[in-house]
Amino acid sequence: MSDLPYRIVIGLEVHVQLLTRTKLFCGCSTQFGLPPNSATCPVCTGLPGTLPVMNRRAFELALRAALALNCEIARFTKWDRKNYYYPDLPKNYQISQYDLPFSKDGWLEIDTLAGPKRVGIIRAHLEEDAGKMLHDEKGGGRDSLVDLNRTGTPLLEIVSYPEINSPDEAKAYLEEIRLLLREIGVSDCEMQEGSLRCDANINLHILNPSPPTPLPHGERGAFPPLPPSQVWGWPATPIVEVKNLNSIRAVGRAMEYEADRQYRKFQEDGRKLGEEPKETRGWDEARGVTLPQRRKEEAADYRYFPEPDLVPVVVDDAWLAQARAALGELPAQQRARLVQQYALSEYDAGVLTRQGRALVAYFEEVARLSGDSKAACNWVTNQVLATLNEQKIDIGSFPLSATRLTGLLVEVRNSGMPAQRSREVYARMIETGESAKEAMEALGIKVVGDADALREIVARAVAANPKAVADFKKGKTKAADAIKGAVMRETKGMARMELVQQLVLEALEKS
């Protein structure tokens, strides 16, 4: 697959903000962009005597996500406190899940150059988010400000196995997670708003002539995973955690940079995994480099212990069934169904699915009404998507209903309208809200549908162009083009080219 002198090993930790109206342990709003510290209360600001109460909706969304990630759901799960001091964490502990996460052992299928691939998921757990700090570096923190609006927002942390082997796979993994979680209504995964965040652990297995000694098939390290050097028998570089990855593109770029940097460093110092402590680096988007990060807390001993203010959560059959029922069709299932049911290509099915359920539903409606899934797919994946992108809207606010678009498809099919003209009609429909017929009329496009009507126009064109007829008879077949052009002008392009071609030839030969 690649001729790099190393194999890249990436594990991703993804934090996803759940789509709840209120925070995980209090009733404050989770809305993005409110004035600083306006969405806060005694609970999420950690005032003395306050107590957390779990938001059941958040747990349900998390359950749904874990099911979609093929995770095993724990029937008994508890909350733990992760203790560390930071001003954006008003209690100085974060309510999280430690040894009994509500889900574990899942997988996510991604598309790679070599075909579909399953990336294992170690665990997914729920936790509360911290606030945001606006640092004052000059004043040594004296004038730093804290915004606690985000404090207590429900986060789902999804930890993958180190089974991602290229920057492209890392991007595909994130794109698939984003699509999946959006589709099942768990998160809007807006990286700009911080509702999807990602940290990456990356190192390299340096290929050397001696053959690798992989573990028996199917065996995977328990949590925490085995050092990859033990798994493969190849020298591995020290693991680096890369933070501050604010877009999927940044993840790809950072992984590429980091792989290259680690290989060069290995060639220089030859240092292997275990020979130096795990390093944390931050991605500098502007400079396109990773830089060593100052450690937030020197020794990361979080002193986890069970959160005594919350009771354990018991997931019974009914609750699980309810979460499963809320899942609906997952993207992977949907892709397969579109291929099978509508005879679409894998590529087209992928394009449609990536746009979300609403667009797929739109496509399916057009396909059903028109009885032509191929045309429906062409129109939706080309014109409709282009319009959505141009206007920066989603299918919910798209001006043409499925019925209207189907009207256009039918006109095109019946009239044999050339592509260029049909796009003009489409554009007018979008602009004015007219039906296909109305738009065509307004554009002066008359359907020259039947061969008889066209034959008359052809006959007139032949009569009006004696020179072309004469040239044709002399063997200049190209002279027919002038007749065809006249016909097209006459019909305002509203005649099917093959039919015109056929009728013109017929007429010329007869004349």
Binding site: P42, L47, P48, G49, P52, N83, K91, R303, Y304, D309
Partner: protein
């Protein structure tokens, strides 16, 4: 008038024999007169109390519905949040902290028409057994002003004993209601964990803390418990179970009645006068028809160790929030953020609180957690099993509340381990989450009160109160008052 029981005062109020304002004024007068000696209160809200009392009187005049404690003053431990009123936890850290909310129990008191007369002293953040760890003042035992009232709810116990309030609320994490009740000659009850909402109770050790009542007698405690008990959806650990009308069934006999006496509670360290009084109480129960039998709590020797690991671990996390960043004491001078947090905490916390934060941080640390914290959790489960097993043979477990009567001020402050042993008989109930009560059962030769502890299975407060009342009816210890004037 102020020496009478809460139930008697409530009867007089409802019969219109006295106004709430007059009663409140009488208690405020007693406070003014006795506080210089006792120092039970951190804040007394004279104007607010009188205003509340007048409002109750007005409602009564108009024939409007009144709550079960209408017009009766109640003192509240300053670990319980009161909206718009300073709540210091007897700590410098929260010297100016004014909560924007009431603790659930305070809301219940207001709904019941109680007069919130003031906030009582405690060991800082409830960490202590003598109320000497208060950052503000030392409270004295009304029976002997040279001695401590016990703790950590020493202010509440002393206020009731001194006749400064007929009822008071305390909190009990390892004996902080029962031990001061015992040392001050009043009744104090720690409810089952989950019986009373902890919302607004500033946490010391969340899995052990409970709010509970103080009164001169069992009936007073029953009345106050009725008001504060019950489910609160804002506290996830509060249990949704009906609250029996405790004060209605007090006189009903408990038959058959088996009283378990744990042999482990009569060992070394038990004061002779205390043992004698407790044995006499058991003998009285026997005369009243109870079967008194020996039971065993074999893991109780490990209770103190387990308690100080679990409680301090939770405390180290619960008290992490007092960093000077968002509220509370912030050092005036500092170099950077870390320095600010260090100095704010260093200045704000007293020695005992620091000791417990350090201990708790240590026992949760990597490399020590298994040997200390996790082992303590295992011992905690064994202690719960001990109680379950013992309760198969008896209705209540009886013994001394505290191994000694009230000790001298300053006597144990340099010896935290001896101080910790004050709670040796009471912490089991917190670790097991069961209910416990301390009732007066006699006096030492020098006139110091002695308490009898009764413990009942979870949510058996009704039976516990009836069994306590059975003894109280036959004795007059609870009617005695210290001579303060």
């Amino acid at each position: 008038m102020i020496e009478r029981s809460a139930a008697a005062l409530l009867d007089s109020l409802s019969r219109g024999e006295m106004s709430a304002e007059a009663l409140t004024a009488a208690f405020l007068a007693a406070i003014r007169q006795r506080e210089p000696k006792v120092r039970a209160f951190l804040h007394v809200d004279e104007a607010g109390a009188l205003e509340q009392a007048r409002a109750v009187d007005l409602r009564r005049q108009r024939g409007e519905p009144l709550g079960p404690l209408a017009g009766l003053p109640v003192a509240v431990k300053d670990l319980l949040c009161t909206r718009g009123q300073r709540t210091t936890c007897a700590s410098k850290v929260l010297e100016d902290f004014v909560p924007p909310y009431d603790a659930h129990v305070v809301t219940r008191l207001k709904q019941a028409g109680a007069i919130l007369i003031g906030k009582t002293n405690l060991d800082e953040f409830a960490m202590g057994s003598s109320t000497e760890n208060s950052a503000y003042q030392v409270t004295r035992n009304p029976w002997d002003l040279e001695r401590t009232p016990g703790g950590s709810s020493g202010g509440s116990a002393a206020a009731v004993a001194a006749g400064e309030a007929p009822l008071a609320l305390g909190t009990d994490t390892g004996g902080s209601i029962r031990q001061p009740a015992s040392l001050c000659g009043v009744v104090g009850l720690k409810p089952t964990y989950g019986r009373v909402s902890r919302l607004g109770l500033v946490a010391f050790a969340s899995s052990l803390d409970q709010v509970g009542p103080f009164a001169h007698d069992v009936a007073g405690v029953a009345r106050l418990l009725e008001v504060i008990a019950g489910h609160d959806p804002r506290d996830s650990t509060s249990v949704d179970r009906p609250v029996p009308p405790y004060s209605q069934s007090l006189e009903r006999p408990v038959k058959p009645l088996a009283i378990g006496v744990p042999r482990e509670h009569f060992g070394a360290g038990l004061d002779a006068a205390v043992e004698q009084a407790v044995r006499a109480a058991l003998a009285l129960y026997q005369r009243l028809g109870a079967e008194v039998k020996e039971v065993s709590l074999p893991n109780s020797p490990h209770a103190i160790a387990a308690y100080y690991l679990v409680a301090t671990a939770e405390a180290s996390s619960n008290l992490a929030r007092y960093d000077g960043v968002h509220y509370g004491h912030r050092a005036a001078v500092y170099d950077d953020l870390i320095h600010m947090v260090e100095r704010s905490r260093g200045e704000g916390f007293g020695a005992e609180v620091k000791r417990r934060i350090m201990l708790g941080t240590f026992v949760l640390s990597a490399g020590y957690k298994d040997a200390y914290y996790l082992k303590a959790l295992k011992v905690r489960r064994l202690i719960r099993t001990d109680f379950d097993r013992a309760f198969q043979e008896c209705e209540v477990i009886a013994g001394p509340t505290s191994p000694t009567p009230a000790f001298k001020i300053g006597e144990r402050t340099d010896d935290p381990l001896t101080m910790y042993l004050s709670d040796v008989y009471t912490i089991g109930a917190n670790l097991a989450g069961i209910a416990g009560i301390s009732i007066p059962c006699g006096f030492t030769g020098t006139g110091l009160p002695i308490g009898l502890q009764l413990q009942a299975p979870p949510f058996e407060e009704e039976k516990l109160l009836r069994i306590a009342r059975l003894y109280e009816r036959e004795t007059d210890w609870h009617t005695r008052r210290p001579k303060l004037v």
